[in-house]
Structure formats: C-alpha cells, structure tokens
Symmetry: C2
C-alpha cells in the first residue's frame, strides 16, 4: 500500500456546514503546535473564552469550547444538567430537536415533546401550553436555528416563557451563532451550545458552550455523578476556570488557534455587522433563486438568512444536480436531511461563505445546471 | 477589546504530549476544508481507516478515529461495551488506570481493581489471580504504556490471559501506538484506543479506536442503549462503515487530513523502523541523563522508550527548571502527574520528536540549567 499525500480540490462550501473557512483561520490552524499547558497557550485560551463570551453576548464565567463537534456540545448540556427522572420539554421541528430527545432519554430523563411541522418555527403557544400542563418540568430545550429545515425560532420569547415557569432553557445555537441575532444574557438563556464550522468560518471539531449561574448551580447540586467522564464539566472547569489550569484532557491545540482567529475576525467585524451581512446576502440569493423558479421550504417570516432550504424543482435529479455543481463548479450545496431528503436542497450562506462572489457563483451555476 | 492574531513561539515538545508535529502534518492540516460528505473526503477516509488498521496491526473492519481526544477514545470503549452491573477487572499502576475505573463506575459497571506501584508494570500474576477469583468478570482493562510513569506493561501476556478466561480486553494504547511493539490481532486485543498527539506526530484531537469481532458482537448484543449519543458506535458506523456514508456528526475534516498524513508517514517509515528509532533515541537520551546524574522512575526492563520519567534531583526547583528550559531554549518537558507531581519530570521522545537533534538539545539544555 503506497499512498500519496491528500490534496483536496478547493471547494466553495455552501451547504449546511462545514462552510467556507476564512483563509486567516486556515493559516492560524497550521501554526506550530505548542503544549496545552504552555503559558502562551493558556493566555490564548483566556482570549478564546472572552471572545466566546462576546459572540454569545454573555458574561457567564462558565464559557468554554468543548473539544469535539457540536453534537458533543449538545451532549455536554444534557449529561451535565439533566438527571435521571427529570422532565424536559423538548421542541421538535426538525432533525436536531429529535436528537435532543435522544439525549434526554439516554441520560434517563423524561422527554415531553412539542411537535411542529418541519419548516415551521417552534410554536410559542404550544410551548406555553406544555409548560402549563407540566408544572414539574425542569427544562425547556429547543433549537434556535434548525439546520435541517432553515427555520428560525423565537428564542427570546421561548426563554422568557422558561423563566416565567422557572425552568432552565437549553438552546441549540449551532447554526445561529454569528449568523443572526442571539443575546444569551439579555434573553436569559441558561445553557447554550454551538459549533465552530457554521457561521464562525472555522474548521469543524469544536463546540462553544456557555452555562448561566442557574445552570451552574443545577450542575453543582447534582446528586448523581455526570454519566460522561470526558464531558463532565465539574472536571473540565479545572482547566478552563481561572487560576491554575489542571490537566483534564489534552486540548486540541491547533483547532483552538483556528477558533481564536475566527472569533477575533467576528469581533473585528462586529456581531451586528455580521448579522446584517448574512441578511443582505440572503436577500440577494433569495431574489436570484426566485428568478430561477425555486421556492423556499420556510415562510419568509421565520426564514434563516444563513440556511436556505428550497424545494427541488420537478424533473430535476437531486444527486445529479449536486454532483454537477461539485464537479463542474467545485460548489457544494447541501442535500435534504430527514423528512426533506430527496425533496429539498439546503444552500448555506454561513460566515465567510456569506459574500457576494459566492451568491453570484451559486446562482449562475444553478442556472447552468438546471436550465 | 482589540486582540492581535496569536503567534505561538515554536517549541520543541518533549513532554508527555502533544509532541512535535511533523511539518508535513501541519501542512496537511492547513489544506482547504472540503465537505465531510464530499467524495474526495470519503475516499480519504477509506485510506485513514486502512492506515489505522496498519498502525494497530489489525484487520478489524471496526476501525475508526473518534472525533475527539484520547480520553473520548477511552470513553468510547467503556460506554459501548460495558453494560450496567458488568464486572471489569481494571489494572491501576498510574493516572490512566484510575481514569479507566472512573469510566467503569460512570457506566454503572463494577470495577475490580488490580493495583501495582506507580512506576512498575501491571503484574501478570495478580491479573491471573483476579481472573481466577472473579469468574463472572466480563472485561480486563489495562494501560499498555502508562504516560504518567513511563512503565510498559506486557500487553501480549495480559491479553492471552483475557482470552484464556474468555473476557474481553480493553487496552489503552494512547502513548504506545507507533512508539513500541503493538500487535492487535496477533495478541488478541478486543478494544483499543489511542491518541493522535503522541507517537503519531499529529496534532491533538483525534482518537484511533478498533474493536475485534467479539467486541462488535458484544456491542450488538446490548440490551440497553449506549449511554452517550455522540460516542454511540452503532450510529457512528453508519458514517465509517462501508457503502453509503450517512450523517452522524460533522467530521473534524482538517484534523483528519493531518491524521492521514501522519499515518502515511508512519507507514512509509515502517512500524518496526519507528519502534527501533524510538528505542535508539531512548538509549542515547538515557546515557546522557545518567551522565547528568538523573535516575529513572521505572526499572530498565519495563521502561518505555518514548516516555522517560526521571526523579527531580535534590536541590533543583521543579517549576524553575521547566520554566528555564521553556524560556531559554523553547524546550518543553513534562511535569510529574498524580503521585509523581513535584517528584519527577517526564521527557517524551514521541514520534517526530524522537530524533537526534532533540536528544542533544535536551541534554545540553538540562546540563546548562541544572549545573
């Protein structure tokens, strides 16, 4: 077996993630590896923490990057906070709400489902009803931006309900962070997780997470050990917490260089500017897609700018179109997922991918392939 | 808050890991990110699998890289294989045996401890006795190369005992893979995990794992769901298994480029040659350390070539010496861990770090700082 070095063909990434990585982030990624307890690295980690706090708009001291992809960030929230027998109201309007349910079940919790149609936002009214019907619920869990459908839910209203009913909110912000408005402290979010590979323009593999003081208190009051050793935040905080950094596991050093650079770029641009850029690029893409006769899965009012799910037009071959885009134009768009598999495409405009050259390339390439 | 890009000072990494990353691996890491379902990436993943099989010397079809550091690889073995109430004989002769125990307890298993002094190998006789005393045990778990002490245990003899008693072996090869002899199929190892950042000369963040047919059968016969969704190998195999790659979580694309390159380099050198190189560099380092009057924690017979734990000489200030090495020579060596904290240093010769220029730099720098 003699293998050649791997040389990927550069692609334009306009799927559901990973999205285009900023060139400065790739550069940062390849910088020399140093030790995870090196004073230089520890100082950088303090900056990473401050930058995640900025991106989440929070002052939570408990703000870290989990050393694994977004689905481990999700699991971090559930394994640390939900104890066996506890009731969690889980909103399901796509793939990731269902994944939350599976997390609840695996830690021995009880999931009360609030279902909404794929492509629609989580119904605030139904959640209010569920909270009223289940006064013993301890958590409300929902996805802010459903990557499988492109629907944006009203996180502010949902978290207000959670506070009113004194339950903790657990919010999936994998696709929303950096792409649309998100204010952890102002909205009163208790536990939130995201991913590095969406609107942060970073490589996949890390998951920013933040817990409110109430979530930390819940964790500290546990009567059973956290079922996962790797994701046990009572141990991880020894490394991320202030003062002496004690060894828990070896931090993914180079990926954290990349996250540092991507968050630094976001902060340089300014969150509000980044949200506005995603919106502007979405408007331009939307106009072009409609000209091509494509229609959106999600109503305009709750449509995510950074994830555009459109129905596959009649007569078009799903796989053949995506392959042609990839092979002829080095352009990746996403397939449908779950209920939308074979029925929709998902066109991402995430982070560094949300720029004019990508929008016009995507529209022109789709035009050539479809017509 | 205006932050500058992070520019780490290049270091020579001779601690317990991360170790020096091969320059070609860093280059591979920074290559353009493509989609985790891109046909080019999927083809590369097939090569990664074949290369991990080579490194482990196994033909196990169930051979993957977990998308997280070595401690998640450890957890992958325990959460998938050990069910509540099952008895595991756990050998503890350092930090990582104790971590295995914690994993067993968290999945609801019962850990029967076989303790040996820190710095000594796992006693084959004690394990034989424990297996005889506990005919209801289902697993034998031990660390092949204890990173906290530098002791090598006789994995071949221990796995032979496991087979004789019809229990499954779970082996920690985080520090051994690529550094000393390891033959998964020949020795009959059932579940094994390693880390990317030790003797593979790769960046931290990935964990190669392999399960034997017997381990897979145990997983398939589970009567309870795997407690972790993220690490549930019945789901992950949908992505790594042959045929259609279905989405489970977003693979850490760039880190996998790096792992591909590091394994390719290992295969090019040849496993036996890599083992011999670690041994030769160790001999050279050992001669120099003894000249400096430093003595080893571990007896010669069970000393790891790639992890040299030496007692801190009387009169030397642990932190001051390590800081001087780092600040004056950009050389990192490791502190003691657990029982050996403040008592020993750990000098790594792992992967790309096991070369002559590192050995002479380390000896000369230690000489300057100590004398």
């Amino acid at each position: 077996m003699t293998l050649a070095p791997f040389n990927p063909t550069p692609r334009t990434l306009m799927g559901p993630g990973p999205s285009d990585v900023h060139p400065q982030v790739l550069q940062a990624l390849g910088k020399p590896t140093i030790g995870h307890l090196d004073p230089q690295f520890v100082a950088m980690m303090d900056e990473v923490k401050a930058l995640i706090q900025y991106a989440f708009q929070t002052e939570n001291p408990f703000t870290i990057a989990v050393s694994a992809p977004g689905s481990a960030g999700m699991e971090t929230c559930f394994v640390n906070l939900v104890e066996p027998g506890e009731k969690v109201i889980v909103c399901r309007n796509g793939v990731f709400g269902e994944r939350m349910r599976q997390n609840v079940v695996r830690v021995g919790g009880e999931a009360v489902m609030v279902d909404d149609e794929w492509g629609t936002p989580v119904s605030v009214d139904k959640v209010a009803q569920a909270l009223a019907d289940h006064p013993d619920a301890k958590f409300l869990a929902f996805v802010h931006a459903e990557t499988s459908t492109g629907a944006l839910s009203d996180a502010k209203a949902l978290c207000a309900l959670a506070q009113q009913h004194e339950v903790l909110s657990i919010v999936d912000a994998v696709t929303s962070l950096g792409g649309n408005e998100l204010r952890v402290d102002e909205w009163g979010i208790d536990a939130i997780y995201s991913g590095s590979q969406k609107c942060l323009s970073c490589v996949p593999g890390l998951s920013p997470v933040s817990f409110s003081a109430k979530a930390v208190a819940k964790l500290e009051a546990r009567t059973t050990p956290v079922p996962s050793w790797f994701l046990d935040q009572t141990l991880v905080m020894g490394y991320w917490g202030g003062g002496k950094r004690s060894y828990h596991h070896t931090a993914p050093v180079n990926s954290l260089y990349a996250l540092h650079e991507s968050l630094r770029l976001l902060q340089q641009e300014g969150l509000e500017n980044a949200w506005a850029r995603h919106r502007a690029m979405h408007e331009k893409l939307k106009a072009g897609l409609e000209k091509l006769g494509l229609s959106f899965v999600v109503d305009e009012a709750s449509r995510l700018p950074q994830l555009n799910a459109v129905y596959i037009p009649e007569g078009a071959d799903d796989g053949a179109v995506r392959s042609a885009l990839l092979e002829r134009f080095n352009l990746e768009i996403g397939a449908g997922l779950g209920d939308l598999a074979g029925k929709a495409w998902r066109i991402g405009l995430m982070g560094y991918a949300a720029r004019e050259e990508n929008v016009v390339l995507c529209l022109a390439a789709l035009d050539e392939v479809l017509n």
